[in-house]
Symmetry: C2
């Protein structure tokens, strides 16, 4: 089964004990990592079907279309899946800031030893 | 606490119920996502201290220095942390293939509807 998942061309996502995949979203233009979120089977299917990123909100325990309230949708240009099919990489065209803080990316701080500094 | 984590410059990683952060590794040169793995507090500290990527192996239940057997270490150029501090982005200089299959990246397949195709 591991070999099948690793080497084959059969889509067989390996959801974790909570029924989730890890989803990494990058900006198609800049390559920057915009955000990391999670997808259940429904969110994954909705993303594939619509071409817009859907996740599972672990805090709200509900399907979450990114940008459903803000308008900052992530248009998905390409979906890649990793060797053991428990993580997906979404190559996106963002309609606006991906982060709830209003920043383009959620990764706006750099780890510098035991503290954080703004990423430039 | 959420605001503190989101807006401050205090490093305060939010480990999940299993004591893990999500770690996304990209290639500094190409921007490609190489792999997604997990870090416990020890792996995170070892990565910060040594500048080489360490993870928690969920299958082996042990600290795992990437490349410890293969030599394909990931030299970490930059560590970013996301708004809620439960995910890190490692900008890496890979010494060799990141994937156990020998491929440069674990994300060598593209989702095309209900099947996979080789990513080119």
């Amino acid at each position: 089964m591991a070999d099948h998942r690793d080497t084959g061309l059969t889509l067989d996502p390996k959801f974790d004990d909570n029924g989730l995949l890890t989803a990494v979203c990058t900006d198609r233009a800049s390559g920057e990592v915009l955000m990391v979120a999670h997808m259940d089977a429904e969110a994954f299917a909705a993303t594939v079907a619509t071409g817009e990123a859907h996740f599972w909100s672990r805090s709200r325990k509900a399907l979450w279309k990114k940008g459903e309230s803000s308008g900052n949708v992530l248009r998905v240009h390409d979906i890649r899946i990793d060797c053991d099919q428990d993580a997906v990489w979404l190559i996106c065209e963002p309609a606006g800031p991906a982060c709830h803080t209003g920043r383009r990316s959620c990764f706006y701080r750099r780890v510098d030893g035991d503290r954080l500094v703004p990423a430039t």
